[in-house]
């Protein structure tokens, strides 16, 4: 119980640190005055002074930090600098389902792909098919995701759109699940696959290494000696032993993607998720909007990490004891 309390205390400390860091990046970067930026290029000193007072930039930093956090998390009425009267927090929550759907689809593809390639690589260790899979995984890791998205668009929307393979691809954009479940799935399949490519590369490598380590384990040697068939050996015994570390990695990446890692894909495929919202804020320099998405994302990642950590301890009681230092 003491462990849980100290973990919670650490989490709160980290959350506080993140909020200070993000606030400092946006409003206390030396030499960049937000009021100059809001007033626009070439504004007169009087106008800048008025803006500074109107937005409260002339108050001391700790006060501004507290009011900002109040606007963001307690009264939740932070308004945009660009579109006055637009509530930033509700916008973030409205965009979240799009990102969630995209990342869920991507997770489906990347778990399936990683399992297939990881198992193939481990089962045929050292043979040409293993080398081929390793090379493919390395290439998948090396492709910039936004470029791959452009190429997928080029092939599926323009060059081969009329062929049987891509005639089902809808125009870019998002369809809510409530409007049409089929349209929702169609709109998300290609973006999710694109997003999954790099993760398939990463996870198949991790899984292959873990499976090969697990094969050296005493439990596996016993199972083999008992005469367990190869399918049962790989799928039931080895995968269970090696899946755990990949699972905790999966949780981290899933949370990172939900927290805005999918920004580039959302921009390329014109999906109105949280990342796309951030991107819109970039082009208009809407600092409250960007700050809200970044801060909510970071908080989400920290809380998700803590949950995964707890889950991991439940699944593998050995973790809590011994050295968790590293």
């Amino acid at each position: 119980m003491k462990g849980v309390a100290s973990r919670l205390g650490q989490m709160v400390l980290v959350l506080f640190g993140i909020s200070v860091l993000v606030f400092a990046v946006f409003f206390a970067t030396p030499g960049s005055d937000p009021s100059v930026r809001i007033a626009g290029r070439g504004a007169s000193p009087e106008v800048i002074e008025r803006v500074r007072h109107a937005y409260g930039f002339d108050r001391p930093l700790p006060m501004r930090y507290l009011t900002m956090m109040d606007h963001l998390f307690i009264s939740r009425n932070l308004t945009s600098y660009v579109n006055h009267g637009q509530n930033v927090v509700s916008e973030v929550f409205a965009a979240a389902p799009v990102t969630l759907s995209l990342v869920l689809w991507a997770a489906l593809f990347w778990v399936a792909g990683a399992l297939v390639f990881g198992l193939i690589g481990a089962a045929f260790q050292g043979e040409w098919i293993d080398r081929l899979v390793s090379l493919l995984a390395l290439i998948g890791l090396s492709i910039p995701v936004f470029w791959l998205g452009e190429m997928v668009n080029l092939v599926s929307e323009s060059r081969f759109h009329d062929s049987w393979l891509f005639s089902w691809v809808p125009p870019l954009g998002y369809v809510p699940f409530m409007t049409s479940p089929l349209g929702w799935a169609k709109a998300l399949i290609l973006p999710a696959m694109t997003l999954a490519v790099a993760f398939i590369g990463l996870y198949s490598r991790v899984l292959r290494t873990d499976l090969l380590t697990a094969m050296q384990d005493d439990a596996l040697r016993t199972a083999r000696a008992k005469g367990v068939g190869p399918w049962r050996l790989w799928f039931c015994h080895a995968l269970r032993l090696s899946g755990l570390s990949a699972l905790s990695l999966f949780g981290l990446d899933f949370a990172q993607l939900l927290g805005g890692g999918a920004l580039l894909i959302e921009v390329v495929f014109a999906l109105p998720g949280v990342g796309h919202l951030t991107y819109q804020g970039l082009s208009t320099l809407d600092l409250p909007l960007i700050m809200a998405t970044v801060l909510y994302a970071a908080f989400f990642v920290v809380i998700a990490n803590a949950l995964i950590d707890g889950l991991y301890r439940l699944l593998d009681p050995r973790m809590g004891r011994g050295s968790h230092d590293g």
Partner: protein
């Protein structure tokens, strides 16, 4: 001794040798950028919408009527198989893609390399301090790095770029130009410090309780001497193995930032900003976006292969 070790490593691991060869080739190409631009006579930064180019013995406009049936609007000239100006075609400003690709290689490789070096220096400093001192210094540094790492990397880089890139900045006596390459270099280096510092700290911890360090301390060596003469030389291996992977990450981050127009500022080019330029022409002149993407993939692939080989070598050495 270090040269012979590198030579043996490259001889044993052919993939590393191939990757290194590829990287050297790319660097040579980047260095040859002005040579190419002068040879074919194009300016990679200046837009030339009214210019003409010699192709198949005829003078043709760089901006040509569209291929669509109505011939509305103009689209830039496409690629050709002949050596010469506009071999890869032009972008929407009428600039030579091949020349911009070469100049972009300079920016991309320079930023990735400097960012990786800066990142590793900072990470080594943090990791060494945390790992060697332990105690509360370790706790503070580790927690600070945890906080940095909890913010999704690209979002953090984007946030920092939004407030710095493209604005006149003054840090005390230093003045940074709005389009200075120092900004993307610093930002990209900073976001990967926590990632690089973790293995360095772990290695320092295991080294600082090793027998030879205890022996040195027993002989009365100062902490500074232990860190610089005993630990750092052995730590260099860890850092060196990490460096290609960090550089690959930095290159990808740079291309993403430039793709969002937050890295290298126009009219200068980097591979990421070239893909951004190609986005508008993706259906009519896809080569504008394809070429820089292929360049990024080749570079990152070579760096990753080099890093993998180095890591495998280190592991094999540990087993022996």
């Amino acid at each position: 001794m270090i040269f012979s070790a590198t030579g043996r490593f490259l001889y044993r691991r052919k993939s590393a040798a191939a990757a290194l060869g590829m990287l050297l080739l790319l660097i040579l190409c980047a260095l040859a950028a002005p040579l190419y631009a002068e040879n074919v006579g194009v300016d990679p930064m200046e837009s030339s919408l009214a210019g003409t180019v010699l192709r198949d013995g005829k003078r043709v406009d760089i901006m040509q009527p569209n291929d669509n049936p109505l011939h509305l609007g103009l689209s830039p000239i496409g690629p050709s198989w002949r050596w010469g100006a506009y071999a890869l075609g032009a972008d929407s400003q009428g600039r030579d893609i091949a020349a911009r690709l070469l100049y972009g290689a300079r920016a991309s490789l320079l930023i990735a390399f400097s960012a990786a070096c800066l990142c590793l220096v900072m990470a080594t400093f943090c990791g060494l301090l945390a790992g060697y001192c332990g105690g509360w210094i370790d706790i503070i540094i580790s927690r600070a790095l945890d906080i940095l790492w909890a913010v999704p990397v690209y979002l953090f880089a984007i946030s920092l770029s939004v407030v710095t890139v493209g604005h006149d900045l003054s840090f005390g006596p230093f003045h940074v130009q709005p389009d200075s390459l120092l900004l993307p270099i610093g930002i990209i280096a900073l976001i990967y410090v926590p990632y690089a510092a973790r293995p360095i700290r772990a290695r320092t911890r295991s080294l600082s309780s090793a027998g030879f360090v205890l022996a040195a301390r027993g002989l009365g060596a100062s902490s500074l001497r232990i860190v610089f003469r005993e630990i750092l030389p052995l730590l260099a291996e860890t850092v060196l193995v990490l460096s290609p992977l960090i550089m690959a990450l930095c290159l990808l981050a740079e291309s993403a930032l430039s793709f969002l127009s937050l890295g290298v500022q126009a009219p200068a080019a980097s591979w990421g900003s070239l893909i951004h330029d190609g986005e508008g022409l993706i259906y009519s002149r896809p080569v504008v976006a394809i070429a820089p993407g292929v360049a990024i993939i080749l570079t990152v692939l070579a760096l990753n292969a080099l890093g993998d080989a180095a890591q495998a070598e280190l592991r094999a050495r540990g087993r022996r």
